[in-house]
Assembly symmetry: C2
């Protein structure tokens, strides 16, 4: 893509924000703030989000789950039927239009249960594994962490329905393994953390936490096993065990819950077993915060010059800074585009300094520089954004190097 055709309004100066991710993503032209805790994803952020979602989608499909899109609108009555409307913890976070009697999808247990109520009759119809990428709305009292805690945010949520607790437990572990793969592919090292079910469930849950000084959570982490405990269940951890644990701050990027029969019972959703007897249905839910993953990556991968995206989710693979007088880098741009690279050609009529500053700020993994001098010598300068290493390469060397970066 040509840089002149990309809407990425970088800023020379940006008011310091309380959050690193909001500051950097705003300055680099990835997002535009609409209100406290509400951001528009501009083209660069959307590209990252789409790459994050593609990785999650692959792993969810590999689990045998089916992608759907439910509605944000949910009648208040369904929340009364599940009992959550009456729960002040929930009530206070739910957006609600009193004239219409409609709430706006804070979470989707209720409509998912109601949908399968129509389709599940017998044990042959189970399990059901449905997921979606959906916008969630929650009235966060404190929304000062940029994309880490928004009032409106993108989330992947999966709901599973099983004939027995054993079937559910098996899927729960399969989904935990899938989550580990997702986060690893996204460039995030996660810890599997025991936690309470919070406001979702009476049973325990597992959180996937990324260690980060600016995170809101506090965990007791075992660095060898990459497991640990949320501070909220600290009282249940034995003193002996605590020896191997370090208290650190972290960001929760995913979670998985046992919901038991709480929601299926509330809506009287049961199945007929092979003896013709009605049986309860066991449910689980599994979330990954897509916006939060985007914010976490920005929070972790950066330096004083800007963002440093991991290769798998970078908005572009290559930033081609054209410093020649006459756009002489076009041939290289065309050649690398044709070879399938996702490349941004900065052909704007602005100073060399502005282009190089923008490239660092945007955080694309590989920056190529072509100047009249390198062009005459048949060379290209390659800078690795992550390490800062700079090399001058001939065409064949460049091709080999790029294949190493993007196999």
């Amino acid at each position: 893509m040509r840089r002149s055709q990309l809407y990425a309004p970088t800023k020379k100066t940006t008011a310091k924000s309380e959050s690193i991710n909001a500051y950097l993503l705003t300055k680099a032209g990835f997002v535009s703030q609409v209100a406290a805790g509400v951001y528009a994803l501009l083209p660069l952020a959307l590209r990252v989000a789409q790459k994050i979602e593609a990785i999650i989608r692959e792993e969810m499909n590999a689990l045998g789950a089916n992608e759907t899109v439910f509605s944000a609108l949910q009648p208040k009555q369904t929340w009364e039927a599940s009992g959550r409307w009456q729960d002040p913890h929930f009530r206070q976070i739910i957006y609600f239009d009193p004239e219409a009697g409609m709430t706006f999808g804070a979470t989707h247990e209720e409509p998912m249960v109601l949908a399968i109520k129509e389709s599940v009759q017998s044990y042959r119809d189970l399990p059901v594994l449905l997921y979606q990428f959906q916008t969630k709305f929650r009235k966060e009292l404190r929304a000062k962490s940029g994309l880490l805690r928004g009032r409106e945010f993108r989330m992947k949520d999966l709901y599973s329905f099983h004939a027995t607790p054993e079937d559910h437990q098996q899927f729960y572990e399969e989904s935990a393994a899938a989550y580990a793969r997702v986060f690893s592919r996204l460039g995030l090292e996660t810890y599997r953390i025991k936690a309470s079910g919070g406001i979702f469930s009476q049973e325990y849950s597992d959180e996937f936490q990324v260690i980060c000084n600016t995170g809101e959570d506090e965990i007791l982490a075992n660095h060898t096993t990459k497991t640990g405990f949320n501070k909220e269940v600290e009282a249940e951890v034995s003193a002996e065990e605590k020896k191997d644990l370090e208290r650190v701050r972290s960001i929760e990027v995913g979670n998985i819950f046992h919901l038991g029969t709480k929601y299926t019972d509330a809506f009287d959703v049961k199945y007929l077993d092979n003896a013709g007897a009605l049986q309860p249905i066991y449910m689980g839910s599994y979330g990954i915060g897509v916006s939060r993953v985007l914010g976490t990556l920005a929070e972790i991968y950066n330096d004083e010059h800007g963002l440093k995206w991991p290769t798998a989710v970078a908005p572009f693979q290559i930033y081609l800074a054209d410093l020649t007088q006459e756009g002489k880098a076009e041939a290289l741009y065309q050649r690398l585009s044709s070879a399938g690279y996702d490349i941004l050609w900065d052909e704007r009529a602005v100073s060399a300094g502005e282009k190089l500053v923008d490239a660092d700020l945007m955080g694309v993994p590989v920056r190529l520089v072509v100047s009249d001098k390198t062009e005459a010598a048949g060379q290209v300068e390659l800078k690795d954004r992550s390490t800062g290493a700079v090399v001058l390469l001939g065409q064949d060397e460049l091709d080999k190097k790029l294949q190493m970066y993007f196999p």
Copy 2:
């Protein structure tokens, strides 16, 4: 994909709905109703929607537009600033949480203008062309047309910003041409219809209408030029002209608007021309109803047995009904999957009749049937869902035929 792993709860009987599209899409397991005018997209509908969006995305990118995702949440204050909050026509369709002071994206002129206010300074920053696929929320008084008029629906909306009316007019015509290409690729014959700006604009607008007996709109259509007038501007059409026009019912699947400087002036968004003088910015908006296109296709492409999707947007290309005793069609399924076909293998332990009924109901363009008999003869039965034609083919003939369907 294996049919047993697809969540597509077809129904043997479904209550007759006032709308054909809702009836068929529900019976065929594409959607699940959440409330009046609110539908969850189940896997089959999502597959169609994703194909519709991919075609739109290609054409919008070809226009040089940039994809974004703005927020649904919009502070009430911005609607007061534009004056629309005070307009009872708008006020009555807007979902609103009075405690939070937030509205839920009925349309996105306000946040788009506010975003470019930060980034556009000079004539060099124009034009700006931003679009998104976004969920819209509107309190429709009458929501009885299934996916043709929802309270929550998917929409592609594009907003353009230009330095002069002439620049805008040029883009307006380019976008009209792009719309014609989009609808043609989607299998919809559209008429370009002159209409009023409605509640969006004082200026005229162009609608893209599909002739359909069950449509809500009424147009005067010229079948030669594929143009015409909306009934609402009938008074302005001369008697001479009316001779070539037929009064028909139709569905509006897209529209394009001149917004002039109404919204940019409201937020005092101007640019500096090359003489350093402040100038107004001319704005247009361009919508395609993704959910409505899905509903329109269902409304138009069907017969007494079910849906009949056009090839470009069908949820699968091939429905492979395996009527053998031992799932012998698996080899064919694997071979066609490997060849890149989007194929659904119905390997369920249900009757042959149920599989054939489901195939017709789902409306996949090509149905293949493998029975013990055809298998022994080295043949496959192919049925064209659109024409109903059935042929028996050997392997080489099948491969050639499929290449004709899906080049």
